[in-house]
């Protein structure tokens, strides 16, 4: 029913998302879930990256969605809706973390100064890993575990930029840090993950992949 209404009321060539936003802003509250459903995963992942606790992450993700719903009339078309939603989520998650003071439990590395001179450790022959590996749950699990080993400041930037697909500027604004810090942390996060996954190769994470004998995907 709602979908039909959207299709009929779309004479201007606007996207489906823009139509949904306009309708919800106009009071059709029941369409809000349809609007945010495509971003459920990303909102949850953003909250999880900051809170590192599934229960808290779900709660914050839901709170963020409710806050977005409450403020939908303030959303302006010049911003991407997904970015707006992720930024609300990041704010909610940061507030939750401050409230629960979990920051004191973070690793010692978080107190170090920014370091951009991280040097790669593994230089084996490489090739592209096919994305089909992600069909295997154990591979996804290993990748998630590798990500979880990163210090908070690197993990947050990496998740927002490379998983949530915010741009550098948006990532900086969401986390309240400088663009330069985002770039520095992003470089380090990517190189560290690359080394972790290269080590994972040694441990056979991708052992059932059809790579040629003796070569690595790095």
């Amino acid at each position: 029913m709602a979908e039909l209404k959207v299709a009929v009321n779309n004479p201007t060539g606007t996207t489906r998302e823009q139509d949904l936003i306009a309708l919800v802003q106009d009071g059709q509250n029941e369409l809000f879930y349809e609007l945010v459903r495509p971003y459920e995963r990303r909102v949850y992942a953003a909250a999880l990256a900051i809170l590192r606790n599934e229960t808290d992450a779900e709660d914050v993700a839901q709170e963020a969605m409710l806050k977005a719903f409450a403020n939908i009339r303030q959303f302006r078309a010049e911003a991407r809706f997904s970015t707006w939603l992720i930024q609300i989520t990041v704010n909610e998650a940061l507030m939750r973390r401050r409230r629960e003071r979990t920051v004191v439990m973070e690793g010692i590395d978080d107190r170090r100064e920014e370091e951009s001179d991280y040097a790669p450790r593994d230089f084996a022959d490489w090739r592209e890993i096919p994305s089909e590996v992600l069909e295997r749950k154990e591979v996804r699990q290993k990748l998630a575990e590798a990500l979880a080993t990163l210090d908070r400041k690197y993990r947050e930037v990496f998740v927002l930029r490379d998983m949530e697909q915010l741009n550098i500027q948006e990532t900086a604004e969401a986390l309240g840090i400088s663009v330069a810090s985002v770039k520095t942390r992003l470089l380090r996060a990517r190189l560290m993950l690359r080394d972790l996954l290269a080590a994972g190769w040694e441990q056979g994470w991708f052992s059932r992949l059809p790579f040629e004998k003796g070569s690595k995907p790095w």
């Binding site: 009071g27 509250n29 029941e30 809000f32 879930y33 945010v36 459903r37 459920e40 995963r41 990303r42 949850y44 599934e54 229960t55 808290d56 779900e58 709660d59 993700a61 839901q62 709170e63 969605m65 409710l66 719903f69 409230r99 629960e100 951009s116 001179d117 991280y118 040097a119 790669p120 593994d122 230089f123 084996a124 022959d125 490489w126 090739r127 592209e128 890993i129 994305s131 590996v133 992600l134 069909e135 996804r140 990748l143 998630a144 990500l147 990496f158 490379d162 998983m163 550098i168 770039k183 992003l186 470089l187 990517r190 190189l191 993950l193 690359r194 996954l197 290269a198 995907p217 790095w218």
Partner: protein, 228 residues
Amino acid sequence: MVVNCEQVWHEISNFIEGEVDAGLRAAMDEHFRTCKRCASVLAGTRNVMRLYGDERMIEVPAGFGLRLERRLALNARVRSRPWSTWSAWLVPVAALLLFAGGLRVANSLATGPELKSEHAQPGWGIPPDMQVVVTADAKVFHVAGCGVIHNKSTERTLTAKEAMQQGYVPCLRCMREYLHTASAGHVTLETEADGGCRGGTSRSGALETPQTDCSSPGQRAMLLSDND
């Protein structure tokens, strides 16, 4: 321009982002053609970005979407509800008063505490002397050991009666058995801001309660056990 390996590593992220100038890009391209190690670093970094950027890497807990949809639906209903129209709920409130025996309920309605969550579910048959725990800045009370208690450092124990008098509402998870009843009169509710409790529940009460009025303090007080 010629770049060495360390310069390449330092700029490799910007290179992938397309944020290096044309001269540096050309120099790095040339370096990658001749340096197997740096080509390995570039390919591995791209692998990382491609794999982690895949949506399959993000898994949400089972039922996440359903719980979210219910919560949004409840929120949407509440927002569109004409609260200013007193007549819309005077009738069910009056019926409630009659059903419960009048004066005692009326007193509790008049003097009950402010709820910490305006859309909470009332409990049913909760023993008033049951030991429960609450935490600062939260809205719900829990059985000790409940898995969704936040801010545990501020935890304090009190009776269910005291908790409800102070405006706390039952946790949807650990107090679930008190949120489900068997008789007719169905109300589907979910707390709007229960501080971490998940899951929608469908409840029905021996007391037929309007959806909009479940959080009435007096009504919740009445839903304590009779020996309260």
